[in-house]
């Protein structure tokens, strides 16, 4: 947030005259919005999206970048619409291909976030697995998946995380793996805790795991967040609610899958991911 310089309405001193008392250099920070303020804004954006859907417009698959209930978006979104590049009209675009990763880029330990320290981390051990597909249903094979998350208490191993919850010396919360031939990734980790943040008063992020994904093309690059089913914080969170289409929002929520639970060790969650964006292989196949 930028503080605007304080400008007095009337001059409080004349040139050459002594200053009377300290002059404030900046205005005090405005009070944070309340959850009720933010919830009202979320409801308004959701209602507008519903009207668009009923009116026959396709539901947006991604958040609008100018989603004001998430305050940090205000100075950080472009005002001009993006310039469209059609992969059929411009099949030589570099972005229709993308970086490659391999076995040298990961170690086995990276995919098990509970084994990266001498001791066992605190919290509920979970298995998170799923498949990564492109929009044609093709599995994304041998690609890099990266995750990061808070510990069981809702604290990141990051110097700037000021949440006064305990750090866990046995948990960092960063993991990597490569997808297999079916496009499958698997992580063993700890269920992260919810955490407070300063978007508004009494703001809490629902528990989530950050995911970073590569497809077969740079156009398919995705960074997103996976949520846990049934979290009561969903309606209050402007970041999740920035996805205004309920069906699209549901795609960010993992499913509890008892078959994936490891007896005596972890609870299993399934989360499949579909990467947006065209790739060079589409052009070759005439998609």
């Amino acid at each position: 947030m930028t503080l605007t310089p304080f400008t007095p309405a009337t001059p409080t001193f004349l040139p050459g005259a002594p200053l009377r008392g300290p002059r404030p250099l900046v205005a005090p920070a405005p009070p944070l919005p309340t959850q009720a303020d933010i919830s009202r804004e979320i409801a308004a954006r959701s209602a507008a999206a519903d009207r668009d859907r009923v009116g026959g417009l396709p539901a947006p698959a991604h958040p609008a970048r100018d989603y004001t209930p998430y305050r940090s978006s205000t100075p950080r979104h472009p005002r001009q619409p993006p310039v469209e590049i059609d992969h059929l009209a411009d099949p030589e675009a570099v972005e229709l291909t993308g970086p490659a990763f391999g076995v040298t880029d990961v170690t086995d330990l990276d995919a098990d976030l509970t084994r990266q320290h001498p001791g066992e981390p605190l919290g509920e051990r979970i298995t998170v697995t799923g498949r990564i597909l492109d929009r044609t249903g093709r599995p994304v094979r041998g690609q890099l998946v990266e995750i990061w998350q808070a510990n069981a208490s809702g604290r990141y191993a990051h110097q700037r995380d000021q949440h006064p919850a305990p750090l866990d010396p046995n948990f960092t919360g960063a993991g990597r793996c490569l997808t297999d031939d079916q496009g499958r990734y698997t992580f063993t980790t700890i269920r992260p805790g919810a955490y407070p943040w300063r978007n508004h008063d009494n703001a809490w992020r629902p528990a989530h795991i950050h995911f970073s994904l590569f497809g077969t093309a740079f156009t398919q690059r995705l960074i997103t967040q996976m949520y846990f089913p049934g979290d009561p914080l969903f309606p209050y969170d402007p970041i999740l609610q920035s996805v205004t289409d309920p069906a699209a929002r549901a795609r960010l929520v993992a499913t509890y899958d008892h078959e994936l639970s490891c007896p005596g060790r972890t609870l299993g969650y399934r989360w499949d991911i579909v990467l947006d964006g065209p790739s060079a292989t589409w052009t070759e196949e005439g998609h």
Partner: protein, 225 residues
């Protein structure tokens, strides 16, 4: 679009409607983007991420710049990724950007023999980034194409990443025929041009939003379909 099945019990969800070859009859709905947030710093940046070209390799260029928001303030928590064709025009890339030490697990970085084509740089507390790479090359088979670096921008406050491109002033002739640059007005196209500011050194700023006083033109961002 024809349905693959006439079974009335079959779901009409495109995610599970497939043709005989097993491909979906309609494109699968994508997983939505969410912001990178403020705390990716211990997970995504890696040692040597800014060094696509091995240190000391002749012909290396330095690309640097500032990421700014609509208030004109530097963005200290952005992450920039770069992707480019290899020196031979190849677009296959190569593994090994995050090469690991199998003993300690530490990232030891590229060995410098293969050109991976991929770079990742977080902005520093001043909102600046620096990248060392080889000059952009045109894809193989298209020697007349205007070379560029593809860029993906992530930041706290940005709910969905942004794509842009860095073109270089040496290729002015090719720019006239470039399918993107040729359809942009001059003042917009200029936001995609790196400015030479020293030997083998270029500056490329990313302006996430036009400032109110108009001093900083918003960068052209791209959407692919």
């Amino acid at each position: 679009m024809p349905r693959a099945t006439t079974d009335p019990a079959a779901t009409t969800d495109p995610a599970t409607t497939t043709d005989s070859a097993g491909a979906p009859a309609a494109p699968l709905p994508p997983t939505p983007s969410q912001t990178i947030g403020p705390f990716y710093g211990y997970a995504l940046p890696f040692r040597g991420g800014e060094q696509i070209a091995p240190a000391g390799r002749p012909g290396t260029i330095t690309l640097h710049g500032l990421v700014r928001d609509g208030d004109g303030a530097p963005v200290p928590d952005a992450l920039l990724e770069f992707w480019q064709a290899g020196p031979d025009g190849s677009l296959t890339g190569a593994p090994g950007s995050l090469r690991r030490d199998p003993v300690t697990g530490a990232v030891i970085g590229r060995h410098g023999l293969d050109f991976t084509g991929f770079g990742r740089v977080p902005t520093d507390a001043d909102g600046r980034y620096v990248l060392h790479t080889l000059p952009a090359t045109a894809p193989a088979g298209h020697p007349d194409a205007a070379p560029y670096l593809a860029v993906c921008v992530f930041a706290r406050g940005l709910l969905h990443h942004l794509f842009t491109r860095v073109y270089f002033p040496e290729h002015a002739e090719a720019h006239a025929a470039d399918p993107l640059l040729s359809r942009l007005p001059d003042h917009r196209a200029r936001t995609l041009l790196a400015h030479p500011d020293g030997p083998d050194r270029y500056r490329f700023d990313v302006q996430l939003q036009q400032t109110a006083d108009g001093t900083h033109e918003e960068t052209v961002f791209l959407a692919f379909r």
